[in-house]
C-alpha cells in the first residue's frame, strides 16, 4: 500500500482537494483506496452499479436517493474529486474554525449539511419540497402497514407544521427553521471522517 505520502502523490490535485474539503492526508488516502476498491472494473470513475453492489447499501430504504445525490444532473460517472466532495459534507463541523466573513462556508458547515439533506427530498430541484415529493420520501421510509390515507395525512400534517408562507410546500428556509433545535452536527456527521 505504500506510505501516505507516496499514495498522496498519485491523487491528482490532492492539495486543492484537501484545502477544499478539509480532509487530512490520511483520510484522503483512505478514501482514495476505497474509491479504487469500489471501482471494480478499474474504469477510473464510479457508476451507479458500483454503488448498488455495496451489499449493506441495498438494505437502506433511501439508497436510490443517496446514490442519486452522488450522480447529480443525471450523469453516469463519478470521479474521485466529486466523490470526496460529497463525503466531505459528513465531516464533523470544525469547532475551532475562525469565522471569516469573506470566505465561503466550508462544505461541512451546518447550512451545507442541511442543503444536502434538503436536496435528497427535493428531487426536482425547484427549491421546495412539494407534497408529492414528501409523499415519496415518506413512502420510502415508512413500513408497509401504513395505509395510503394515513400516509397522506402524515404528509399534510408535516407540511402544515413547517409551512409558514402557506404555499403548500416546504422551502429551504422553512426547512432550516424547523430544524433549528436539532443538533445537525451530531446527526449528520461521521466521526471517522474528522
Amino acid at each position: 500500500m505504500g506510505s501516505t505520502s507516496s499514495t498522496l502523490a498519485k491523487i491528482p490535485n490532492a492539495e486543492d482537494l484537501m484545502q477544499e474539503t478539509g480532509f487530512t492526508p490520511a483520510h484522503l488516502v483512505r478514501l482514495y483506496d476505497r474509491f479504487k476498491v469500489l471501482d471494480k472494473d478499474k474504469k477510473g470513475f464510479l457508476t451507479p452499479q458500483d454503488f448498488v453492489a455495496i451489499k449493506e447499501l441495498a438494505m437502506n430504504p433511501i439508497c436510490d436517493r443517496i446514490i442519486g445525490a452522488f450522480f447529480t444532473s443525471g450523469g453516469e460517472t463519478l470521479d474521485f474529486p466529486s466523490f470526496v466532495r460529497i463525503l466531505a459534507h459528513f465531516r464533523p463541523i470544525d469547532k475551532n474554525r475562525p469565522k471569516e466573513p469573506t470566505s465561503p462556508d466550508p462544505i461541512n458547515s451546518r447550512s451545507n449539511k442541511l442543503k444536502f439533506a434538503f436536496q435528497l427530498y427535493d428531487q426536482d430541484k425547484d427549491g421546495k419540497i412539494s407534497r408529492h415529493e414528501l409523499l415519496q420520501v415518506l413512502r420510502a421510509m415508512l413500513e408497509k402497514q401504513v395505509t395510503e390515507e394515513q400516509l397522506e395525512s402524515i404528509a399534510d400534517r408535516t407540511i402544515q407544521e413547517a409551512d409558514l408562507d402557506r404555499d403548500d410546500a416546504i422551502s429551504f428556509e422553512e426547512f432550516r427553521k424547523s430544524l433549528e433545535k436539532v443538533n445537525i452536527d451530531h446527526k449528520m456527521s461521521i466521526r471517522f471522517l474528522r
Binding site: 483506496d33 476505497r34 394515513q150 424547523s178 471517522f192
Partner: protein, 785 residues
Amino acid sequence: MPQSTLLTLLKVVFLICSTLAGEESEEESQSQHHHAETNLTDAFIVRLNWHHVENPYLVVLWIFVAGVAKIFVAQLNARLKSFFPESGLLIICGFILGGIVWGADKAQTFKLEPRNFFYFLLPQIILDTGYFMPNKLFFSNLGAILVHAVIGTCWNAGAVGVSLWGCYLGGAMGDLNIGLLQFLLFGSLLAAVDPVAVIAVFEEVHVNEVLFIWVFGESLLNDGVTVVLYNVFDAFVSLGGSKINAGEIIKGIVSFFVVSFGGSLIGVAFAIIISLLTKYTGKVQIIEAGFIFVLGYLSYLTAEMLSLSAILSVTFCGVCCQKYVNANMDEKSVTAVRYAMKVFANGSETMIFVFLGVTAIDNVIWVWNTGFICLTILFAIVYRFIGVFTLTWMLNRYRLVPIEVIDQLVMSYGGLRGAVAYGLAASLDETRIKEKNLIISTTLIVVYFTVVIQGLTMKPLVKWLKVKRVEPTELKLIAKVNNRACEHILAAMEDIAGRIGDNWWTRGWKRFEDTYITWFLMKPEARKNKDYLFSIFHKLNLEDAVNYVAEGEKRGSLAFLRNGDRTNVDFDKKFGMEFSGVMPDITSELDYGIDNVPMTSIRRDSIPSVSLDIHEQDMKDMNEDFNAHHLLQQHLYRSRKNHRHKYSRSDFKINQSEDEVQEIFQRTMRSRLESFKSAKMGVSPAKKITKHPKPSQKVRAFRAGIENPAFMPEMDTPPPPWLTEVETDTSVAPSQRAQRQLPWSPTNLQRLTPLRISNRSTDSFVMADVPAAQDSPEEPPEDGG
C-alpha cells in the same frame, strides 16, 4: 403468589433431602462397607434407595432449584422494572438457599467446587459466547482487545499485588502470613475481567457496539494471561522467593505465548474438525447438532490437559466454526444448536450465580480483615480506571475514531470480576498459601461488590452520562422525518466510505478465505447458496410459496386463480389467523377484464383488521383521532444504528428486523433490477411502470385500509435476472410483456409465476391494466399467447 409457594415447597422438599443426605453421609462411611452385607430380616416391597441415586439426584435437584430461582428472579425483576441486575438477585437467592442448607446441616455441604465449576459449568458459557460472537466486529477490533487483555490484565495484577503488599508492609492489614509473591498471586487471580459477569450486566445495558466488543472481547481473551500469571506465580510461590531469577522470568514470558497461542490453535483445530464433520453429516442430520457440543467440550478439555488456556481454546473453536457449521448444517439443526447452546449457557450462568451465593453461607471460609478487603476493592477499581484510560489514550492516537471519555468510563466501570476469580481462589493450595481463606473471602466480597453494586449502578450511570443532549420534546414532524432520514443517510455514507476495518488485510483475507477455506470446509451446495441476493430471494420465494399453498388449501383448491373469482381475502390480526373469512368483492364497478384476481397479501403478521365497506372505513378514519406523530414514530424503518446489540444471552436472533429488510429489499429490488437489466443488456428502462399512481387509483377504491398499496412490490417485481436473461429476447413479445407488466394476482404468486410461465405470459392471471394498455405500441394483442 404462586411462585413463592412453589419455592417454599421446593425448599421444604430440598430440606428433607438434605437432611437425609446429612444423616446418610455420617453413616455412609460405616455403612458403605456394610452396604453389601446388610442382613435382610424380611423381604420388602418398596424401599428407599437413597444411596443408589444420591449423587445424580442431588445434581439434578440443584439444577432444578437453580432454574426455579431464575424464574422467581425474572418475575421479581419484572415487577421491579429491571432495576436489579438479574445476576445480583440470583446471588441473593443463593444466600437464601445456602442459609437453608446451613440450617439443615450446620455445614455447607454444597459449595461451588472449583472442579465442578471449571469442568462442568464454564465450558458451555464460553462456547456460547464464541459461537455467537459477531466475528466482523471482533476481528476488526482485535488489536485493541488484545492490548487491553494482555497489558491491561498484567498491569492490574501487578499493581494490585504490589500495592497491597506495600500496604501490608505499612501495617494496614495487621498480622498476616503472606509475602510479596502471594500478593502477586492474589492480584493475578483478581485481575481478570469475567466474561460471565460482563455478559450478564452488559446485556441489560445497551452500549454502543465498539465499547461492547472491547469489554466483551477483553473478558474472553484475558484468560490466557490469567492462566499464565496464576501458574507462574503459583510456581514461584512453591519455589520460594530465593530461586527466582531471570531464567524463571523468561520462562514465564515464554509460557505466556505458548499458552495463549497454543490454546487458540487447539480451538482452531477443533473448529476445522467440526466444520469438516458437518460437511459429511448430510445423511445423519439428526445428530449433527450434537457434534458441536461434543467437540467444543473436547477442545476445552484438550487444552486443559495440555495446560494451555482452555477458555481461549473454546472461544476460538466457536468463533471459527460458526460460519461453516451454519452453512453446512440443515436449517433445523442450526436452530437446534443455537437454542440448545442458549439453554445450556443460561442454565450454567444461573447455577454459577446461585452457587456463588450458596458458598458464602459457610463459616469455615470467612476471615474478615477489613483493611485487606477494603484496600483490595479500592485498588481493583482505581487501577482498572487508570489502566483503561492510559491504554485507550495510547490506542486513540492510532485510531481514526477515538474512543470517547464516556465510553472509557463505562469500560472501566464495567470491569467486573466473577466466578472465574473465585474458582481460581478456591483451587489454591492451602499448604503453600496459608491465608487461603482470607483470599477466598476477599475474592467473594469483590465479586459480590462488582456484580451487585456495579451491576446495579451501571444502567443509571450509562443513562446519566449520555444525557448531555436533551432532545427537545416537541419536534416538528419534518424534523423527526429528517432525523430518521439522517440516520439512514449516515448508515449509507458509512457503507460507501467503507468501515474502519476495511483495508487491504481484510480484503486479502476474504479472498483467501473465499477461494481456499470455503472450498475445504463447506459443502458444495452451501457454497453455491452463499450468494447473498439469491439467498434473500430464495427466502422470499419460500415464504410466498407457503402462503400460496395455504391460501389454496383454504379455498379448497389451487385452481382458484383461474376461475375468475373476484374474491377478496380478509384476515384477522388479532387471532393470528390468516383468513377469517372470504368476503365477496364489493366493487363491481371496476371491471378489470375477464379474469381478475385482486391483490391480497397474506402476510401472517400484524395486518390490521379490515372492513371492506369503504364508506365505513372513511367514517372511521375521520372520527379517529389521527395522531401523525405517533404513527410516524411507530412505523419508520429503523436504521442500522438502532440494532447494534448483536450479542444476547437469551435471544438468538441477531437481526430482528428481518421483515423490514425484506420489505425494503423487495421494494428497491424492482428498480434495481430494472437498471441492472438495462446495464447488462442495453435495454433502456423506458417501460418502467411507475409504482405509485397506477395502483393507488384502483386499489384504493376497494382495498381501503388494508395496506399501503404503493407497497405492492410483488405486483411489479420482475423475475430475477438469471431468469430474465433467458426471456428478455426482445423478439419474443409475450415474455417481454410479462416482464413489463406482471400479472396482478395475489402477491404470493408473483415470484412463482415467472418460474412457471416461461412463454405463457398472457395467461388467465394477466390483468388488463388500463394505463399500461396504452403505453406501448409494440404490445401484442391480448390473447392466449
